[in-house]
């Protein structure tokens, strides 16, 4: 036995220590590189040499370089990143949406209140043109505020679409990079050693991709990794990457959607199956939060605008000839929309075969929701399935011409095909289309078409408390005379024309707190409330307001003022078609504000929670694969010492060899 095994052991030990120091240095060099996994030179004891005296060790071998990596933790971190990115994207956009619903004096509620309150000033000075001008200016303000809210919503929508385009081009870039790395990895597959740095690079790309869209991965035999999105849609397979594209949503072209370009065929992805990622967050915001925000504003615009218009048109303006000009509406309101899906059946010229028309019948019953209309799933003729896209959705069966939630739905003939879909948006454009129509202060209808008087010789205490118009008087020149025939409130009434011809007549019983006539009875469209109690023989007269008195009559201004307390938003439609409930404009805005506020609050909490979870998952993964510089410093010393010891072995081997030479030479 000579010195050569010793020399060989020393040399291999030096090489092994050097390899370890090399990986440690590589670790130190890459400590700050995102996605880098700590590497380790794997050493193995060389098989012993058999002799008659047993096995003698031959030293150490470097078998391979491994990366510290846990597949499960890495994937878990990527998924957690997806969810966190989704929540963060939605939270970010929701706080923008919240700015469309400011609190206090900057809010829509305040503006609407100011406008309705100025009707009280109009009631105090019905003939004053300065007061009328103020009312018109306030009406203009209401329209401008609704328009600007709608513009803000549009620009949020534009921001979402533009973010989607940027995100999608990032996804496409990352998918291409993953495909390339796949190719490089596959090429090195035959070498039998793991290309650690390439694997890190691919994991990092997948991690970046995960923050945009949640992915699942399936490894292939050649070392490449298949990347799938939206529950199994192929994004990367081997060295081939598919491309995503931003398109118009088939159901609502005003919204953006994501489609997978499959060899030239665009397949729209269902936003619900995308899972996590900022793209899913943006789509969820766009399809849910933004729609809700727009509808809440639209519902308020439609309800307030219509209620004011309706009351204004029951009154009499100061236009000449006084009392002879029909009053004009104060506001224009954006029309309801029925949007055909882009996939609906088209005729030869590319026009849709079927169409749907919406008409608002009662703005106070409109809901802040969209609806989906399609043919009856059972295939019944003339029957359609209408789904209110609220939470939870409400499915109804309707026919053409039916009135649902304050709107009439007319369906064309030829009817929609079995696969046709329509998105009904009763209020989405109400705020955008709002405009104050009146320029001339005289157009404000402060006067009531009728004036009620209690005869001066009455013996009871009954005075006129209020006279409200339910409709324009069917007999414009008719005078109603109401005569009490007893002390218990029984009365007879007759409606006479100019020449005292009786047009209609009837009887009724007045009850304290109830109007005359008792609904649903009607006398020339009015509803009269008394203060005090009438006695037998007392008479009341409800006559057309004389032209000369119109400038000083404030009957309709009082009715407009009372809209402050009227439940004019979001009445519920009952089974018999009547409506009940509803809230005032103030309450409607306050609850819209709270609705959006709760969404933001929830999104903030969700974002915080999922960010913490993502950070934890990231910590867990990096605890396995990350570099700790103190650890590397310790290892460096360890391997340095090993190297020094190995060098000593070599030195001794050399010294032995020299001793041998000297001995033989002497």
């Amino acid at each position: 036995m000579g010195a050569s095994p010793l020399m060989s052991i020393g040399l291999r030990a030096m090489a092994a220590s050097y390899a370890s120091m090399q990986t440690t240095s590589h670790n130190i060099a890459n400590a700050s590189v995102a996605g880098y996994s700590r590497q380790e030179a794997q050493l193995a004891t060389s098989a012993g040499q058999y002799t008659g005296a047993g096995f003698f060790g031959k030293g150490v071998d470097v078998t391979t370089v491994t990366r510290a990596h846990d597949e499960f933790l890495t994937r878990a971190a990527a998924t957690a990143t997806s969810l966190s990115a989704m929540d963060a994207a939605r939270q970010d956009r929701l706080s923008q949406l919240e700015s469309v619903f400011p609190t206090g004096e900057g809010g829509l509620g305040y503006t609407v209140n100011q406008f309705l309150n100025s009707m009280s000033d109009l009631a105090s000075r019905p003939g004053d043109s300065a007061t009328r001008q103020t009312v018109l200016a306030n009406a203009q303000n209401v329209a401008t505020m609704f328009n600007s809210a709608s513009n803000q919503l549009d620009s949020i929508q534009a921001g979402v679409s533009s973010d989607l385009r940027t995100s999608v081009s990032q996804v496409n870039g990352l998918a291409n990079s993953i495909a390339q790395v796949n190719q490089q990895i596959a090429a090195l597959n035959g070498l039998g050693q793991a290309p650690n740095d390439l694997l890190d690079q691919r994991d990092q790309l997948i991690n970046q991709l995960s923050s945009l869209v949640q992915v699942s991965t399936v490894p292939a035999d050649d070392g490449s990794l298949g990347v799938f999105i939206s529950g199994g849609q192929r994004l990367v397979l081997g060295n081939q990457a598919a491309q995503l594209q931003v398109t118009q949503d088939a159901d609502d072209p005003s919204r953006s959607a994501i489609a997978l370009n499959d060899n030239g065929t665009l397949r729209q992805m269902d936003s619900g199956t995308l899972g996590g990622g900022s793209i899913a967050g943006l789509l969820r915001f766009q399809n849910d939060d933004l729609v809700q925000g727009r509808n809440l504003i639209g519902q308020l615009a439609a309800a307030v605008g219509s209620a004011v218009n309706q009351q204004q048109m029951l009154g009499v303006s100061l236009q000449q000839p006084l009392g002879g000009v029909a009053s004009k509406p104060l506001f224009a309101i954006g029309a309801p929309q029925a949007v055909p899906a882009t996939t609906n059946t088209k005729d030869g010229s590319g026009a849709y075969v079927a169409s749907v028309a919406l008409t608002v019948t009662d703005a106070s019953a409109l809901t802040a929701a969209n609806y989906e209309l399609r043919a009856d799933p059972g295939g019944a003729d003339g029957v359609y399935q209408l789904t209110r896209l609220s939470t939870p959705p409400l499915v109804m069966s309707i026919a053409s011409g039916d009135v649902v939630d304050g709107m009439r739905i007319d369906i064309s003939d030829p009817p929609p095909s079995a696969t046709d879909r329509f998105l009904l948006k009763p209020v989405a454009q109400a705020a955008a289309g709002m405009a104050a129509l009146l320029q001339d202060p005289r157009d404000l209808a402060a006067a009531s078409p009728l004036t009620a008087t209690a005869t001066s010789t009455n013996t009871g205490t009954a005075a006129i408390a209020s006279l409200t118009m339910n409709s324009l008087p069917p007999e414009a020149a008719g005078t109603a005379q109401i005569s009490f025939t007893g002390d218990s409130g029984d009365y007879t009434w007759q409606l006479v024309d100019d020449d005292n011809n009786v047009l209609s007549s009837g009887t009724g019983t007045w009850q304290a707190g109830q109007p005359i006539p008792t609904p649903p009875d009607d006398i020339n469209g009015f509803s009269l409330n008394l203060a005090g109690v009438p006695r037998d023989g007392d008479t009341l007269t409800v006559a057309p307001t004389q032209a000369a008195y119109i400038a000083t009559n404030n009957g309709n201004a009082l009715a407009l003022t009372s809209l402050r307390d009227a439940a004019l938003v979001g009445k519920a439609t009952l089974a018999d078609g009547s409506t009940s409930g509803g809230v005032t404009a103030t309450d409607a805005y306050a609850s819209a504000l709270a609705d959006i506020g709760v969404r933001v609050q929830t999104a903030n909490t969700a974002a915080k929670t999922s960010a913490a979870m993502a950070s934890q998952a990231g910590d867990a993964a990096s605890a396995v694969s990350g570099v700790n510089l103190d650890e590397e410093a310790a290892r460096l010393i360890q391997f340095q010492q090993s190297y020094q010891a190995a060098a000593k072995v070599l030195q001794i081997a050399q010294s032995i060899f020299e001793t041998l030479l000297q001995t033989t030479s002497s």
Binding site: A31, T103, G109, S124, A590, L593, G597, V598, N604, E631
Partner: protein
């Protein structure tokens, strides 16, 4: 086995923590400087909705107050107009009494008639008074301009009976029913038609201007005249009393409106304003937290094994 702290991640986490503490500090400062706990709805959706309703109530109180001022302004003038009318009626009463003086000649009575005519014209002017902004005090539910006009048949009221009301926290009158006040005084003689201020005076003036009437006829004119003048004066006084009590009601309504407004202001403030003591204490807490985070960061980042390894 303890968890491995990754150096790069440790830096990242520390920086992240510093940033979030800085953000908290900025938020606390923002709240302190704005004085509001709720600046956006998501700060506290329930409180934001409460504050919104309270704000509506505040603005409503202001509108109610404006309507009340309008009514009070008109009613004050009405009350004073009816006061003026009362004094004139008193003068008319004295003139009628004087007319009964047995030593008076036809021409003396004609002079009294002239002075009564003057009083009557002043009363007509009062009945047609406006509030200075175009509203006729006795305009009822709408009138021609002016509501009272002389016609061959005497003074008539061209307007709708009743009152125009304004919407304050309760309905308040903007006008008085002119016909009722001036032309519809209850007749002291049962079963006789109601009396008009102007017909009563016109009747007396006509009698006094008629020459050569006997003592009994004059006595009858004076006695009926006096009783009629008293009846219409009492009716005017009743209207004045009503105006006075309306003013009283207005005052108590005003108190009520300001109480409502104050309650709404308090409600809004409770809902969205900051508790300053709490906020300052929170701010100081966050300040010390940030300070501590900065100090530990500086200390911990100096610790590294490499420092102890000499070359």
């Amino acid at each position: 086995m303890s968890m491995r702290i990754t150096s790069a991640k440790a830096y990242e986490t520390s920086i992240g923590n510093l940033q979030s503490r800085q953000q908290d500090l900025a938020d606390a400062q923002n709240k302190l400087t704005s004085g509001k706990r709720v600046t956006v709805a998501s700060d506290d959706p329930v409180a934001a909705a409460r504050a919104e309703r309270a704000l509506a109530a505040m603005v409503r109180s202001e509108a109610d107050q404006r309507a009340l001022e309008a009514s009070r302004n008109v009613t004050t003038q009405t009350e004073s107009a009816l006061g003026d009318a009362g004094e004139l009626m008193q003068q008319a009463r004295e003139a009628v009494i004087n007319a009964g003086n047995g030593s008076y000649s036809d021409s003396d009575r004609a002079t009294l008639a002239t002075s009564l005519k003057g009083i009557r014209d002043q009363l007509l002017a009062i009945a047609n008074r406006t509030d200075g902004a175009g509203t006729y005090l006795f305009g009822g539910q709408g009138t021609q301009a002016p509501p009272f006009v002389d016609t061959p048949a005497g003074v008539v009221y061209q307007g709708a009976g009743g009152q125009t009301m304004v919407p304050s926290s309760e309905s308040l009158p903007m006008t008085v029913d002119g016909g009722q006040t001036w032309l519809q005084a209850p007749n002291p003689v049962d079963g006789q038609p109601a009396l008009s201020v102007f017909s009563v005076l016109d009747g007396i003036i006509g009698d006094l201007r008629t020459p050569g009437r006997g003592g009994d006829a004059i006595k009858a004119t004076v006695s009926t005249g006096l009783s009629n003048v008293d009846a219409v004066a009492a009716n005017l006084l009743a209207a004045r009393t009503t105006a006075g009590s309306t003013l009283n009601r207005t005052d108590s309504l005003e108190n009520q409106i300001s109480a409502t407004k104050l309650a709404a202001q308090t409600e809004r403030s409770n809902a969205e304003d900051l508790d300053m003591v709490q906020a300052i204490s929170d701010f100081q807490n966050q300040q010390s937290g940030y300070d501590a985070a900065l100090k530990t960061y500086a200390t911990v980042q100096h610790l590294s094994l490499f420092q102890y390894l000499s070359a």
